[in-house]
Symmetry: C2
Subunit: 460 residues, 2 copies
């Protein structure tokens, strides 16, 4: 497929560069699409060194240089900034799409940002500063002001001539926007509608007014939900007064979805504060820092379980077979709880479950857990009575099985409720996943088990 | 925001329908966008009953009816098919986008599919059958044949007149495709390029030939990766002979990404075989079936840990304080392993980690685990010696701490390696997540702990 062709191209370009045939290398390089080009450039930088990469970079036409630059990771960007003149940097920045430039600037140190701002006109400087000030992960930080605006009193012909003029500098030409006199968003016109209507058709006939928009301070998670729900190619962003301030396009949302999902999954797996770096690019110390907080917190919780156990030491030394079934109860509890919390966390993330659904969730988890607990403990009872045959097998079996039903039931209800509770009090529900739930249910499992054992087995 | 407006519209339409003011209701309904319309229709069906919903459905213009129908879930679709005539069903199907129709047909029972096929021309029937035969979750099952084809020897003017004619019936007009004489894919032309060039420009000047495509049998996961990587609006699908057979658009991919992520997350949480139904719409028995397999499997694994414990019963009754630290070691092991496996599973899903990276992963996990194990066990040692003070505190502390370092190290390495191994032998790596890893490491934790205890404490 495509992959092998790409590998061949990459090797050929790197080969040309290491043979110092830069002009050849550049020509090959320019035939790649921008995503692949950035990948090859990144490899050139790491395999052949920054010096050679910069030689290639300087030989690129400025639009290609800007495209490649905006797609490099920030370490590579800094390395290049270090080697090129302020003037060259200014040119590259000028040539970049506005939203890409903002993304780049957000990652760069303040001194470099100042350098770039110094090269801009006062108007640009103001706009850049406004965009840099939107909170990270807000719609404002994702949008671009480079959209196409059409006037309400134009015809299709007017619109198409306007698009012909400005189309190459806009983020998208496929959705155009119409504002009223107060700069408020009136509606959208799709290019599909423009090219399928006659030149003389008034724009006002083609405006779609029932449109979906997002607020400039809306979280990117909300924005990506709206894109997934409606399947749009672009969405307008408005301020508090319903004035159009920018647009977000679907290609940027694909990255957001990936980022948000990764964050959710990592949190669910007990990894906190991971940045955008890939696993292999993250240093050992950073991995340590991302993982330590959960482990120490959960170790604290496990110590409480230990305390519970030490409190029942006498019981355990009386009836030694009890210890043998601890992993079973703790394991089943943890896994049952994880199943419930996983489903609720994902349901919350997709907007399929709301906080108000708590009673429905509880009732469903209760019924499911009774069924699961009953089946599992029936199997267990048979195993204990017919295979394990400890002393007082019937009573031990009874204790373990009653405990198992209660543990599964409690674990499922905790697993179902904690993500909802977290959301209610403003904590990320993804934190209430497997590691936390299973450590928490361990304590409950031991408490339930030993108390039941005291009642049932002490009576024997 | 948008949401409150939508709720008001919905309530008004439902109100009009229950007051039998269907014409008013229809007019309000038609002003909604298609996604919201389908949502309102679904609610009308569940709140007012299928009879009233069908009255509204019959009053819709056929294009709106088709749009709404294609977005309903399959239960609602079947309810409607049951109430309308075969002729009406035929009209609705005819009006639908081709890929939506295939999606609908895939969900419907064979008898209904036959009804639809009977209404089609022989040519259509052949095409529908071909599409229905592509494997579920393949690029073929996602694509549509309704793309715009341009001829290499046309001018921009020719292309625009062609688009004006066929544009409304195509899935997208924003990317057009050029084939050679053998129906092989030659390249693409974007509508942006068409509308920003003069009428006389030859199409051959605008063709982009270095394009990314997918194979008709490629898995949808691979397709969505390519969309996220390149940020395209549409991607061509080719058969084994590089002939263009259809295209996939980004709006359909957003749904695929959501579906694939949900499947991954649910598998990681120990829920198997979940269908596309939402949590609250899934019955108790189906929840039971989706969760039972993992629980019983993991219970089996927990039984093995129980066997290990029963094997060391004498040791445990000798040194009763040992039991107290079991949850700590099992918990830390499970959580450490889950962290590693989560990162690797996600890295594999994003294509950031390959099977060949196994040695790098192992080396990284080894170093991280030594750091984590050392910190955690230092804290533990202090707690055991200064706070818990069991008999032989120093030796118990030494045992627990050595065990903890070894357990964390083993858990991280297992957690890092199992997803890679799973991928290697063709199992979904997402299955090697928290529930499985933590249950598995429980056994190892007990084995390591009791063996160390035998050596260190027996020697006292």
């Amino acid at each position: 497929m495509k992959d092998t062709v790409f590998e061949e191209n990459k090797d050929r370009i790197l080969g040309l560069m290491s043979a110092k045939k830069y002009i050849h290398a550049r020509d090959e390089f320019l035939s790649l699409n921008e995503v692949d080009a950035a990948e090859v450039f990144g490899e050139a930088e790491s395999e052949l060194g920054i010096e050679r990469a910069v030689i290639l970079f300087r030989m690129l036409p400025k639009d290609a240089a800007a495209e490649v630059f905006s797609r490099l990771d920030s370490d590579n960007q800094l390395a290049i900034i270090d080697k090129i003149t302020d003037r060259e940097l200014g040119t590259v920045m000028q040539e970049m799409d506005f939203d890409d430039m903002i993304d780049v600037l957000e990652e760069l140190p303040a001194t470099v940002v100042d350098k770039v701002l110094a090269k801009s006109t006062p108007g640009e400087r103001k706009l850049i500063n406004t965009f840099l000030n939107y909170p990270e992960n807000s719609a404002g930080s994702l949008m671009t002001p480079d959209y196409i605006e059409l006037k309400k009193d134009w015809t299709v012909g007017d619109a198409l001539s306007h698009i012909k003029m400005v189309g190459m500098d806009s983020e998208t030409v496929y959705t155009c926007y119409v504002k009223d006199r107060g700069r408020k968003l009136l509606g959208i016109v799709s290019l599909r509608n423009l090219v399928t209507h006659d030149e003389g058709t008034p724009i006002s006939d083609l405006i779609v007014e029932d449109i979906v928009y997002v607020g400039v301070y809306d979280d990117q998670e909300k924005v990506s939900e709206a894109f997934t729900k409606y399947g749009f190619l672009a969405m307008p962003v408005v301020d508090g007064e319903h004035r159009l301030v920018g647009i977000i396009t679907v290609d940027d949302i694909l990255d957001v979805i990936e980022e948000e999902t990764t964050e959710d999954i990592e949190r669910m797996g007990g990894v906190i504060g991971a940045d955008d770096r890939e696993y292999l690019d993250t240093g050992v110390l950073r991995h340590y820092r991302n993982r330590f907080p959960w482990l120490i917190l959960l170790m604290g919780s496990a110590m409480i379980t230990g305390l519970v156990i030490s409190h029942y030491e006498l019981l355990l030394s009386d009836i030694t077979s009890l210890t043998m079934y601890m992993p079973l109860l703790m394991g089943t509890g943890g896994n049952s709880g994880s199943q419930a919390s996983t489903l609720i966390i994902r349901g919350l993330a997709l907007g399929e479950i709301e906080i108000g659904d708590a009673p429905k969730v509880l009732w469903k988890e209760f019924r499911v857990s009774i069924l699961l607990g009953a089946t599992l403990s029936a199997i267990n009872f048979c195993k204990i009575v017919f295979i394990d045959r400890p002393e007082n097998a019937l009573y031990v079996g009874l204790t373990v099985c009653c405990a198992q039903i209660l543990v599964v039931c409690l674990a499922k209800c905790i697993g179902g409720m904690l993500p909802l509770l977290a959301k209610r009090i403003g904590i990320d529900p993804a934190l209430m996943a497997a590691p936390f739930i299973s450590t928490l249910t361990d304590t409950f499992a031991c408490l339930i088990y030993f108390n039941l054992a005291s009642i049932i087995l002490r009576a024997v």
